[in-house]
Symmetry: C2
Subunit: 319 residues, 2 copies
């Protein structure tokens, strides 16, 4: 039985609203929900590519080998994923234990759904879970905001009271409720699950490949982000079954193995850097994304959404 | 020479959620730009798929054959595009004249850029433009809001003062400036251009295939939307040149021809429907997209962005 991201019946838990002036109507008219903002375009923004080019060594952090997951596909394709340790720690620990236990050696990509997700892994029935894997992790769908030094994006969001970045990760947050969560942007990686309270072990993972499916925020454990190689997952025929599942197993894309970089001999170990998000350089990058100024652009937007301000990453020379 | 919006007038007119105290600082801190909203999740929303299933005949409009562009790819792939007549009329008239003049018979898909666009067509130097094609169309990047019966989406947007739908099209708009424009959502089709004042003839077209590149809004002529077959454009290796251009012409994807449905014999002519956006059914659909209620979901977002509320389309039976 494959885990689905999104399927059928009905029930909804609701966030508590603790505003000073709580909205009491359950379903206000659209125009009454809030007062609209006006973007304020910045005229002299620097193009994002220029910001990256002009960045200093100290504007980047190195991805820890313990947080770097390397998936190898048949034919030589490689996908690099950074694990986010601050948001779903039990699931991330599971993913490490699964990698070290050879869970995905081999496995396959068995779902490609246009404008939604690519999913890979092994069904839990297919072999015993390695030692150290928690079989029923808690619902790590959001977390306390305390301890997260969030940089506000500075523009409105269609889903969350606020959005921003913390340690290179895109987050939505609710200061009044005191909760934060990673946002489902293009390239983000999550843990496939069945219906709650099943949260998934981590044995089946997915990456968002289209327009950000933000409705998944706070409904599933997100554990990381593809740093490089997502086109190895997207440049294939879409699955023709419901939800993009690939019917014939011989059309699945073979996964040769998935390892932690920490377990790869240093001479062969790839290495990546992620732009720090607590620097003036990153602020310049966000301003540049919100106010494109290249010769092509006539009119900067004056705003950008959290998933169109993807944090720059790069492979280290020699890595 | 770069031009920027409203040179010398980068004032931010600001609004808040629950108070009416406009900000007037030219370059406010991110957290001061606006007052954040709080989503108000709806507990009893109907799943979008159910709304579609329960819709009535009158909830849909038929795409006019004169506005339906059919692209045929070698191997039998077909891409259907609806042309939007209200936003870039000269460019749309050009596209019709190009189709009728056999401009794309044959042509090719020569650019596939991950998480951005697929582009196809013919370079203007490759053969003479057909009669009736305006060689230098005006900059139809936005238009007057007057005459557009916009349905507000009802949620904040990261780019535009307001967003909504009109006649099935996603739009951003600025009531104070009196301007509206189509938003660059996944699947939207635009006219490739060089540097302004070149706006493109329509001879080269692109479709957005990833997270909505909204920074293109108001910077390029958008002319329509892919109704069906976008996976015929996305399920291919990405171009390896800068901007995703495919280096070797033999790896381009051959376009056999592009025709208007109006010029296809009725017996072979495909037909599509688009959900009307001025109905209670569409409002229920938006509410459902903003408040996913299937058995998978634990927590409805209470909001949705304009590009994650794509207007439903369907091929007509027998069409």
């Amino acid at each position: 039985m494959r885990r689905h991201i999104g399927a059928g019946a009905a029930l909804a838990l609701l966030a508590s609203c603790t505003t000073a002036e709580p909205e009491t109507r359950a379903d206000p008219e659209p125009s009454a929900r809030y007062t609209f903002w006006r973007p304020a375009p910045v005229l002299e923004a620097t193009e994002p590519a220029e910001v990256i080019k002009n960045s200093a060594v100290g504007d980047w952090r190195t991805v820890e080998p313990e947080n770097l997951l390397i998936m190898e596909l048949r034919g030589g394709g490689r996908v690099a994923i950074e694990l986010a340790t601050d948001f779903a720690p039990v699931h991330v620990a599971n993913v490490r234990a699964l990698a070290r236990g050879g869970w995905w050696t081999p496995a396959s990509v068995y779902r490609i759904q246009e404008n939604y997700v690519v999913q890979w892994g092994l069904n839990e029935g297919e072999k015993p879970l390695p030692g150290g894997v928690v079989k029923a992790p808690p619902a790590e769908y959001d977390r306390a905001i305390a301890g997260l030094p969030i940089r506000p994006l500075g523009f409105p969001d269609s889903y969350a009271p606020m959005v921003g970045h913390v340690n290179g990760w895109p987050v939505g947050y609710d200061p009044e409720a005191g909760r934060a969560w990673m946002t489902h942007c293009y390239g983000m990686v999550g843990v496939g699950r069945d219906l709650h309270p099943d949260t998934g072990t981590g044995g089946e993972l997915y990456a968002a490949i289209g327009h950000a499916p933000r409705h998944l925020d706070r409904n599933i454990a997100t554990i990381g982000r593809v740093l490089e190689g997502i086109e190895q997952l997207t440049a294939h025929p879409r699955g023709t079954e419901a939800l993009g599942f690939i019917k014939d197993p011989k059309n699945h894309i073979p996964v040769v193995r998935i390892r932690l970089a920490a377990d790869i001999p240093p001479a062969q170990r790839p290495s990546y850097e992620v732009m720090r998000t607590d620097t003036p350089t990153f602020s310049a990058y966000v301003t540049g994304r919100a106010n494109r100024s290249g010769s092509f652009f006539q009119r900067p937007a004056g705003g950008v959404d959290i998933c169109n301000a993807l944090v720059p990453t790069r492979r280290r020379v020699g890595g």
